[in-house]
Amino acid sequence: MRISAQRPSSKPLDLLRAIWRGKAGYLFILPLLFFYTVFVLYPSARTIWMMFMRYEFLRPDRLQFIGLANIIEWAQDPRVWETFGVALKFTLMYVPASTLIALIVAILLDRVRRPSVASVFRTLYYFPVVLPAGMLYIAWQWIFDPTWGPLNHMLINVLHLPVPWTRWLGDPNTSLLSLVLMSVWRLMGATMILFLVGLNNIPQELNEAARIDGANEWQLLRHVTLPLLAPIFLVIMVLRLQVLGLIAEPLFMTEGGPVRSTMTYGLQAYYITFRDGNWRMGYGATWFVMLSIFSTLVAFLGWRWFRNRID
């Protein structure tokens, strides 16, 4: 009786005392917490809440709790599958291409003996990543231009290649591919750095031991380097999964066209939220949240699958 009476009264009191003693800590993290809760956590949570509302930004008077109606509409919306297919097509072209190129470049750079030479190359390869993306989209629109653009000029007049497509962003067959090309160019360096970090962490003795055992370069790569890079592959896959929600590239360069060939899931959600009708934010929020749930699920499953394979 005495024990049970004492425990609840002393435990919260201890906690309060600990909180009071740690007050300086809270004071130091207060500015961070302010920005983080108000501009990151709260809007994210509020978007989830919007999912259950009929909420049109330009008609706030029509605000009403509608339960699962948005989710039901989403599940029956044919645009979901159509645009998700476009995003998936982009992901399936972009992720393997950029990962493979970055891996090759990283392995080559890792073999450059002189650190100063390696750092010059690394600096140049990473260079596109630091350029302001918004401006690069415009520059690449010029580059892809069928008449003035240097890409066609280079391929046709200089290299004399038989190019089957020349309209790039203007052709529904190649518009998505063009966005992939630009993205691979723009972000290859970022993936390369991840691989370089991974290669750096491989102990040099391991490579030497394999060489002494008579492994050639290819065997070394296949049986030592790549298996040890497995965790980095996982990180890259999880990070790159974000391109499923791709918005900015098609928004700025093609506006989803021509004939919806670059209308990605993220862009469709963006247009529903900020352009269609009275800006259907509640329904748009549903699109965004459903994608987040899906991406998190895939990342989690991928992580488990990968971990099992490594063990």
Partner: protein
């Protein structure tokens, strides 16, 4: 026989070296090519810009496009405005992020308080949270505060969304300081605030630069929030605003080479930081590579 095979081996090693470097150089060239082409457009005379096909390399070089942009800078307000907005938005965001994460990095690594680790991981998860999921509510919130089409309307969300990486880097920086130093200062009677200001803060200044760089570069080129939250030149950063100045036909003063020059000028700040602060940049990349 033996000597021949030795020279053969040497020759084959040399060939392999040549191919190896040729591939690396070609790759580096492809990385730079769009940028070099843009330079070529910016410094070519107007007559060479509007011919089909447009030569990859200009025959003559000229500074007149730069002159035209600079003229426009002094005459037309819009371009000055766009650059000014970008400088203010990026500068303020960097200031807020550096301030917040220096304080929080110290607390998360050196102070003890209930919930510390939970809060730290909650903030760190923010590195992988999709910005688009917060977009509708963020817009509604900012418009509720009348912050759409204003500079704070971009600075505040930018700060929130760029804290996680800085917080992570700063906590590692403070954790790297030996405990003895802290103990010595405490014995000398220094309180938490003096410990932070006089002992710890000077020791993490290089990480501070890293955080500043890694906030500056993405914010300077940010486009999605900037495009969504601004529609008037008063608050628009250059990353979006340059779109308003898209070149049309070969006439008028806003020609293709002039636009290319203006674009190149917007590349200058991140390039200066990238090439000028290579040391810190590489350090930050290796520390915070997971984010990119």
């Amino acid at each position: 026989m033996a000597t021949i095979s030795k020279t053969q081996i040497r020759a084959s090693v040399l060939t392999r070296q040549i191919i190896f470097y040729a591939v690396l150089v070609l790759g580096a060239f492809l990385s730079l090519a769009p940028f070099l082409w843009l330079m070529g457009v910016a410094f070519r005379p107007i007559e060479e810009a509007y011919v089909v096909p447009m030569n990859l390399i200009p025959r003559h070089l000229t500074m007149e496009n730069l002159q035209l942009v600079l003229d426009r800078f002094t005459r037309a307000t819009s371009l000055v405005m766009l650059y000014r907005n970008s400088v203010i938005i990026t500068g303020m965001t960097v200031f807020f992020v550096v301030t917040c994460t220096t304080l929080s990095g110290f607390a998360f690594s050196r102070l003890k308080f209930p919930g510390r680790d939970v809060i730290f991981w909650l903030v760190t998860i923010g590195m992988w949270m999709p910005l688009s999921t917060a977009l509708p509510a963020l817009y509604q919130m900012l418009s509720g505060f009348d912050l759409i089409d204003t500079l704070p309307g971009l600075i505040l969300p930018y700060t929130g969304w760029h804290l996680a990486l800085g917080n992570f880097i700063m906590r590692s920086a403070f954790s790297a300081i030996p405990k003895d130093l802290e103990d010595a200062a405490t014995i000398d009677g220094a309180g938490t605030f003096r410990l932070f200001r006089e002992i710890m803060f000077p020791l993490v200044s290089s990480s501070l630069v890293t955080v500043a760089i890694f906030t500056f570069v993405p914010v300077w080129g940010e486009y999605l929030l900037a495009f969504t939250f601004t529609s008037k030149v008063d608050a628009m950063p250059i990353s979006i605003g340059i779109r308003l100045l898209n070149p049309g036909a070969g006439t008028g003063e806003w020609t293709f080479p002039v636009a290319a020059t203006a674009t190149l000028i917007s590349f200058i700040p991140p390039m200066l930081i990238y090439f000028g602060l290579q040391k810190w940049f590489t350090k930050g990349l290796m520390e915070g590579a997971l984010k990119f």
